[in-house]
Structures are given as C-alpha cells and as structure tokens.
C-alpha cells in the first residue's frame, strides 16, 4: 500500500533502502544496482482486490555495468539527497526546478527533463511513496470542471474557499489544482446524476454553450488529452466519495482508448498507484468504432502508427475483455478513426440533442 502523504520518516527510510542496495553491492565487490518493477504492459495484471491494474512480479535490475545506467544510479542518489534536503527544510520544488538544480550535480546532472521526470517516477515505484512525499510537484495542467458541484479549497493564504463549479466560475470552469488530496480539497456537496469526462476543449465548450450540464444535470470535466494525475485523482474521489457514475467521451482512435484505460484501469506508467488514480466503474461512451458506422461519421484513414497502436492494444491485458477486443478489431477492419467533433456533420446541436441522449440512454443513465 501507499505510504501516507506527509509521513517524512517513512519516506526517508524507504529512500535509504534504495541507497543501501547500491552501497551493499559495492561492499560485496559487485556493481551497484537498483531493482525496480518492469514498467511495460507485459508486467501489469488485474488486482482483484483493488479492481485495477497493478505491476506484476517482474523486476528489472539497473546495474552499473554500462555508462548509461551507472549515470542513472548516480542521478538517483543526487535526487534522494535533494529530497531529503527539501524534507528537512520544509520546502518543495517542481520537477522542472529539480531539472535545473541538477545543473550543479556534476556527473549526476540530467541531460533533459524527461530523464528527471522518469527518475522521480522510478523512485516512486521503488519506494511506493508518492511524489508529493518527495516534495516534488508537476507542472502539468489540471482539468477544468463545470457543473453543480461544490468543493472547499485551501487557498494561498491558508483559508478554505467554498467554490461551486457552476455558479462561482466563468466559462472556463473550475481549475483543478495539482494537489487534490484531502488537506487541499474537500468535496462538499453536489446535485448531479453523473460525471462526464471529455477529451477535447472544443467539445467541452460545445456542451457548455448548449447548456448540456444543466439540461442533463451532470458534471463536465475537460481532460486535456492524456489526463494529469490530479484529474484522474479528483474523478476517482468524486466517484468514490459521492458514488457518482463516470462516463468518458473521447475521440474514436487508438490513443483515446488508452486515455480511457488510464482513467478506468490504471496507466502503465503509474500502475504502482493505480488504486489511487483509477476509477474502475467508469464507462466508455464514445466515439466507438460502432459509432463511426452507425452515425456515418466523417472519418480519417488509420495511419501506420495508429495500426501499430491498435495491434499493441490487442495484447494489452487492460483491453482483454470481449467488448474491447471487438471494438479494436472493428476499427482495424474499417481502417478508420473519427474525432468527437465529427458529429458536427449533423449540426452544432446534434451532439447534445441526439448523440449523447441516445448513448446515455443505452447506458441507463438517463
């Protein structure tokens, strides 16, 4: 299970265990190593107890026998030291700030930010701590939310602010902060029947302009592509704490399937915290491969990369069930993909007047 946020001693202890592994190997006359779960689709499995996909037992050993991995170990040590300094000083930093701070780490400096992001994730995985425990923040954009949902947010001055995401916000909605844990966000009350997560800003704005949230009494969340951790986390909290159904409305292409999987089943990269981020009861509303045919949507040909991605999904354990296999195979068969906004073929109101009511009706939500 995850370490409790803010448990500084436990975090320190677990980070030291990583360092000890390296140190002890050197003492034994061996190359230092760092052992971590394999983070690919081949090592994720369904955890029945948690209802999400988690890493399996496969471990990879990063050892200092090549220059690249040796440098990685050295960087890990610098990051551990840096985290300890922040814990001691009661400070926090963004991942980007850490990347720049690494300029002073000599041989252990990062050559790009991807490296530092990955290493922070590695350490999370190995220690089963959260990056919040490490005092590291992402810069990633949280979601936008609109609907009759009320939260309390602790503001910069340390005061709780009550915000209703329908009445207290402008057209762009309530901006979800990067930290949505209980010490920062409290879910107060709501009057919605379900939550709808939407991939594109264009569709989110269309639904708001058409008053869909009020007509159908729902909360709308703009995912902004592959959703940030905080977006997935707040969906999960609202789903659990308020027992709200979640539907996901995305483009109809292989990449959207992956977005859905990360919301519902857990993302491969963050499978160590799936139970914390994933919403297993979320359902996929569309665009489905069926929809492309049933609504005769304007569609583009699948690219080579699309086809590769679909084939990869066929062997992804998260898409192992029959419905997904059918959808993926059908998309491969028709060789087409369609965007959410292709529904505009039938007019601006078609999505809110016809498509969504029909789909939500099928799902038993209205």
């Amino acid at each position: 299970m995850m370490a409790r946020v803010n448990d500084a001693e436990l975090t320190r202890e677990r980070l030291h265990a990583v360092v000890e592994e390296m140190y002890d190997r050197i003492i034994k006359g061996e190359p230092p190593t760092m052992t971590l779960p394999v983070r690919t689709k081949n090592n994720i499995g369904f955890d029945k107890k948690l209802g999400v996909f988690k890493y399996g037992k496969k471990r990879s050993i990063r050892d200092a026998t090549s220059l690249g991995s040796a440098k990685n170990l050295l960087r890990a040590l610098h990051v551990v030291e840096f985290i300890e300094e922040m814990i001691d000083a009661g400070k926090s930093s963004t991942l980007r700030e850490m990347y720049y701070i690494s300029e002073g780490w000599g041989l252990g400096k990062f050559s790009n930010q991807n490296e530092s992001n990955n290493l922070a994730e590695d350490l999370e995985v190995v220690t089963t701590c959260l990056r919040e425990d490490f005092k590291l923040r992402p810069e990633e954009d949280g979601a936008r939310m609109i609907g009759n949902v009320t939260v309390n947010e602790l503001n910069r001055r340390g005061q709780w602010m009550r915000i209703n995401a329908r009445d207290d916000v402008g057209d762009s909605g309530y901006g979800v902060p990067y930290n949505v844990e209980i010490e920062k966000i409290q879910l107060v009350e709501h009057d919605v029947k379900f939550l709808m997560a939407i991939e594109t800003g264009g569709m989110f704005d269309r639904l708001i302009e058409n008053g869909f949230d009020e007509d159908y009494n729902c909360g709308l969340i703009h995912l902004k592509g592959q959703p940030a951790r905080s977006t997935r986390r707040i969906i999960k909290r609202m789903n659990e704490e308020w027992d709200l159904p979640v539907v996901v409305f995305l483009d109809g292409d292989p990449w959207s399937f992956r977005i859905f999987a990360s919301i519902a089943y857990g993302a491969i990269k963050t499978a160590h915290i799936s139970e914390y981020l994933a919403t297993p009861s979320a359902s996929y509303l569309g665009i489905t491969a069926d929809d492309i045919l049933a609504y005769d949507l304007p569609a583009d040909d699948l690219s080579k990369k699309d086809i590769e991605a679909l084939n990869a999904e066929l062997s992804d354990p998260r898409f192992a069930d029959g419905w997904w296999q059918d959808q993926i195979n059908m998309m491969l068969e028709i060789g087409k993909k369609a965007e959410q906004q292709s529904l505009a073929k039938y007019g601006l109101d078609f999505v809110t007047d016809t498509y969504l009511p029909e789909k939500l009706g099928e799902m038993g939500l209205i």
Partner: protein, 671 residues
C-alpha cells in the same frame, strides 16, 4: 595519343588556324569561359612539373589570377616556376608551334597528353584579347633573363616574337632568380569556385605531387598554399618501346616507313619491347614474311599480316607467338606513403588508407592502379564522398560519371565497409574522399576531351580490387573506433561515475566510503588494451602509448606485439621496455604477470616520419584470455610474414623489385 596530332597536322595546311581552334576548342579545353582558365592553368602547371621532373628540381609553382575587366570577363594569368627555364632559341618553338616535341616512338607515362599544350593558351589569348603572351625565361648558365612577347601568325602557324630583351630577373627578396619561367597571359575567361575550378585543380595536383610547393593567389587576393611534404622527386621514368600487343595499324605503318633497318628481325627486336630473337623469327614466319625483308619495303598487306600476328590472329605452329610482357619500370606510381602525405596536407582527417597495386599489363600497355581513402570528422557526413581521379598524375575534373575509375568505385558495396550507399551501388555517402590514380603508358580516354577513362576490363578489375582492399582497411578502422568508444565509456564509468556513486551513497547513509576494486573488476571483467598513436609536434616524432589493464579476477600474463612502419624507414626510439623484433615491421614485448586490477605500460616513439604518416598502431597479443582493443596473434601468419621476408630479401639481392603489397596484406589477414 598521336591521333589528334595526326589529324591536326593533316588539317593545318587547309584551314586557318583560328578556324581550326574554333572547331576543336572542345577537346582543346577552351569550350567554356569557366573551363578556359582551368585549361590554361593546367597547361602551365603541367609544363612546370614536367620540366622540373626532367631537370630533377623540386618544383615551386606560383599561380596568380586577377580580373582585368570584370564586365568583359578578361582575366590575367601569371604562372611562375623554379624550373630549368627555356633556352632563348627554343622559346618560340615551345610557345608558338602546334606540333613541337612529337615523339611517337617513345612510350612512357607523361603528363602532357592534354590538348596541344601551352601553345593553345597563347592562341586562345591572342584570339580573345588580341594580345601576345609575355614570357620570362632564365636558364642557370646565362647571366641574364630573356624577356619576350609571343604572338601567333594565324595564317602561317608561326610564332611572332616581339619586344625581345635581356633583363635582370630578381626575386621578391632582391636576390637573382637562378632559373625559372614566368608566363603572363590575358584571356577571356571566367573564374569560378567549386568542384570544377582552378582551386580544385591545384589542390588535386598538389595531392599527387607531394614534392611540389604550390601557391595560388585567387582573383579576390586570397592566398592558398600547398606546402611540399616530401623532398623526394618522382622516380625517373624510362621510355619503353611499344609492345606488339598494344600497337595500332597507323603506328605500325609509320614505324615501318621510317625504319632504316636492313631486316625484319632487327626491326622487330629493336623497335618493340617483349620481342626476343626467337619471337622475331616466329612472328615473321606466321606473317609469311621473309626475315631479310627491309621493313621500309613492306606492302600494306604485309603490314596488316604483321599486325594480325601481333594480335594473335595468325598463328605459329598452331599457337599465337609468345611474347614477353613489357617492362613495368616505365611507370611512376606516387606510392602509398606519398599519397598519404598528399591527402593529409589537403584534407584534415584521422584515418587514411592507401594501396598501390603491382604493375600489370593490358593490351601490351603496362599500367598500375593506386588508391587512397581518407575518412574523418572534417568532411560532411551526409553528402557523396569526394572522388579524386587522376591519370598519370593529372587531375581529371570533368565527366566523373562516365569514367572507368568512377565505375570501379560505384561497383563496390561500400555498406559492408561502413559507408552509406543506396542499394549497395553508386557513389557512396559519408565523411570520406576516395583517390584513384591510373599510371599507364597508354591512357585510354572516352573522348578527345580526355576527362574520363574508357572501359577496360583489366584496369577496372585492378581498380576494383584495390577498392575492396581499402574498404577492408576502413571497416577495421571503424570497428576499432567503435570498440575504443565503448572502452572509453567503461573507463569513464569506473574512473568517474563509480567513485561518485560510492561517495554519495556513503554520505547519504553516513557510512565509510567503500573500496571499489571488487566492483571494478566485476564491471570490466576483461583485459583491456588502450593504444594511443599521436604526432608530437615538438619532437617531430610519433608517440605511441599502450596500456594493458587486467580487470579480471585472476592474474594474467601476455606478450604484446605491434606493427610499425619499419619498411618505410621509421626508427624506434625511447623504447624503454626493450622487447625484440619479431619480423619486419613487427615488434614484441613479453610483459610481467599482471595481478587482478594491475596494469602495464609500453611507450615508444617513432622518428623519421612526418605528420600523418602513421596514425594508428595495431596491437596483437599472445595469451589465453581475450584482450579488448587488441587482436590475437596468428602464429601461422607471423611465420608467413617471416617466410615472405626471407624471399624478399633473397629477391632483392638478386635484383628483383620487391612487392609492395605483401606486408599490408599479411597483417590485414592476421585477424
């Protein structure tokens, strides 16, 4: 190459010289304004190099081009050398007569096979500007210098001298010019840069004439200088007589007509190479000629019969008459070491491989192919490699695609040697330049323009073989480079990263810094040899530094052997470890036993070499465990090298020419 001269001689009487020039300007090299200036420089430089070679003088050549009238495209060319100069009475012949110095009997490798020589320049200058060409000529024996202007009487095909005078010619430093020639001429022409330019021509010339010092001042006043890199003049080339296999009908007719020999056998033996007394008799019999016939009296049918016998179409007792191969010492290859020097002075690079094939004969003509390949960071990696073609030390700058030498390059699958090449055919891409030189007594061109060599299967095969061998050298170099990069990484790992990991982890855990030797041995888990061959500008020596590390868990003992350019005259210096000579160019040391984690060093220097001569040392080892960075010695190969050496030593004492390729081949094969 007497064909053009013939044609010209026949035509001259009938047509005015300007008309002749206009008609033939394509093969004379004056067909475009851009090409005209290159041709003019070429004629001047070829003359200077040939003259210096004949007089055994190390050439110093200065070329200066300036724009006299940019609008009308008038350029002035000045060419000056330190050659023997031309005696006063010969000047008008050299500069003002189309057919001076015809020597069709003598066959040898020579530069001056292009166009009609410097006379063409004088003519072009006069036709386009109406001005004569100024000549300064100083010969060593004269006190003073001849100064004269040469023009042409275009109707009489004769030189017109004007303003002849004798002057004192001084160098820039006010000393008297000892000997030399200066030609100043004006012409309608256009100076351009790029692959076909005066600059490129001079650059290429300097590569194949490493004994020449060339300075070029371009129209912008920029000075380009290609220094001399060897004091050695090209070997004197002996003229040889034509070989019956390579002769044409016209030439044979002429030889017969001009012969004063009393009988056929004498004629055949004295005017041809490769013909013994026995062969002369057999040739006559096969051609149904009486051996006492006077060659001068031969009828056209007889001559044709003789030619057919030469070519093996008429037989002697059922077989073609057996002839000796022509001698090959009439060729003047540049030779591997000098190609290396030539290339490395014009192109900055880490790796050069060169190869001089042994002389061969095609159609009675001796020839020899030489190639060089230079590879390195200084050249663009995404473009086609630069091809530097030469025939008898003359750069070929046009018609690259149609040339036999290019085709030989294109026929090689360079991908296997580490260059990029679409489909394994065509000119490869990569940071490299390929040089190919054909030395021959009879260079066959595709056209009168003399810019591309025509197809010849035997020459093609020779060139191709040379490329393949060179390619193997390149591949070996690249493999070694890759291995070295990997080894360097490992050293960075154990010398820098691992200690940092140890220190940092100890700090975080607040424990003592651990000892690293065990981890290092496990990480490297190999015996590693590091070789560094560098030019020491201070001592003018090549310093070689070899270190052998034992990063295995056990003690190891080895002998190391290296190759070095002993044959090329290098001397080993400061070799404190001693060791012993294992074979010609192979030195070896027996090393003390290395315990786990220990290393041994070998240092020595090579003198008698110049920068770029020796850039990489190959290390071989004797011992059980493999060594990264060294090749396991093949004892059989070493024995073979020793055996060859003995043979060579014996041959040399008997006066044979040694085979230059032997040693490279054997070491190359020792993998």
């Amino acid at each position: 190459m007497a064909g053009i001269a013939d044609k010209m001689a026949r035509n001259q009487k009938q047509i005015a010289i300007s008309e002749f020039f206009e008609k033939n300007k394509h093969f004379l090299g004056f067909d475009t304004l851009q090409r005209s200036i290159i041709t003019a420089v070429k004629e001047a430089v070829d003359n200077s190099l040939d003259a210096c070679e004949e007089a055994r003088i190390l050439p110093e050549i200065q070329i200066k081009i300036s724009k006299l009238d940019a609008k009308k495209n008038i350029l002035e060319l000045t060419s000056e050398d330190n050659g023997p100069g031309i005696p006063q009475k010969s000047i008008e012949k050299v500069f003002g007569q189309l057919l001076f110095g015809s020597r069709f009997h003598a066959i040898r490798q020579s530069r001056g096979q292009q166009g009609i020589g410097i006379t063409g320049v004088v003519m072009y200058s006069q036709l386009t500007t109406g001005k004569p060409t100024s000549v300064l000529s100083k010969v060593a024996n004269d006190e003073t210098t001849v100064s004269v202007n040469i023009g042409l009487d275009t109707r009489k095909n004769k030189a017109i001298k004007s303003d002849q005078d004798r002057i004192i010619w001084k160098n820039d430093d006010d000393t008297l010019k000892e000997h030399g020639l200066r030609v100043t001429t004006r012409m309608k022409a256009k100076y351009q840069r790029g692959r076909q330019s005066v600059y490129q021509y001079l650059r290429m010339t300097s590569i194949v004439n490493p004994h020449a010092e060339i300075t070029f001042v371009d129209p912008d006043g920029e000075v380009h200088h290609w220094p001399r890199v060897t004091e050695r003049l090209p070997g004197k080339v002996d003229a040889i007589k034509p070989h019956p296999h390579g002769i044409e009908l016209g030439q044979l007719q002429r030889m017969c007509k001009e012969s004063s020999d009393s009988r056929m056998t004498v004629f055949l033996r004295q005017n041809f190479s490769g013909v013994s007394m026995r062969a002369a008799k057999e040739l006559c019999e096969a051609a149904e000629l009486d051996i006492t016939t006077k060659p001068k009296s031969l009828k056209p049918d007889h001559i044709r019969a003789l030619l057919e016998t030469f070519q093996g179409e008429r037989l002697f007792s059922g077989k073609a008459v057996k002839l000796l191969a022509p001698p090959t010492n009439c060729l003047s290859p540049i030779e591997e070491m000098l190609i290396k020097k030539g290339l490395s002075k014009t192109i900055d690079s880490k790796f050069i491989t060169t190869m001089t094939r042994i002389p061969t004969v095609s159609n009675g003509n001796p020839f020899q192919v030489e190639v060089g390949l230079i590879f390195g960071e200084g050249m663009p990696g995404d473009k086609h490699v630069e091809i530097l073609r030469f025939a008898n030390r003359v750069p070929l700058m046009y018609q690259q695609g149609g040339c036999l030498l290019t085709k030989a390059i294109e026929s090689v699958d360079w991908r296997q040697y580490g260059l990029e090449q679409a489909g394994g055919k065509g000119v490869p891409k990569g940071p490299a330049a390929i040089l190919v030189h054909l030395a021959s007594t009879n260079v066959q061109f595709t056209s009168e323009a003399k810019e591309a060599l025509s197809d010849n299967e035997i020459v093609f095969e020779e060139a191709r073989k040379a490329m393949l061998e060179m390619g193997r050298g390149l591949r070996k170099h690249l493999e070694k480079k890759k291995k070295m990069a990997k080894t360097r990484e490992k050293f960075e790992l154990i010398n820098d990263i691992l200690p940092a990991i140890a220190e940092k982890s100890a700090t975080i855990l607040d424990r003592p810094i651990p000892n690293l030797s065990g981890s290092i041995t496990r990480i490297m888990s190999a015996v590693i040899c590091n070789e560094l061959t560098t030019w020491n500008a201070e001592t003018k020596q090549v310093d070689v530094d070899i270190t052998l590390f034992n990063y295995t868990a056990r003690a190891r003992s080895y002998s190391l052997l290296i190759n070095w350019p002993e044959k090329e005259g290098a001397v080993m210096d400061r070799n404190e470890r001693g060791g012993r000579k294992e074979a010609m160019g192979i030195w070896g040391w027996k090393l003390e036993t290395l315990e786990s984690g220990e290393f041994a060093k070998i240092n020595y220097s090579l003198s008698g070499l110049e920068k770029g001569d020796w850039t990489e040392t190959e290390v071989f080892f004797r011992g059980s465990q493999d060594v990264i960075g060294a090749t396991k010695l093949d004892e059989k190969m070493l024995d073979e090298i020793r055996r060859q050496e003995e043979i060579l030593a014996n041959n040399e004492s008997e006066g044979f020419v040694s085979d230059q390729t032997t040693q490279t081949t054997l070491i190359g094969g020792a993998e």
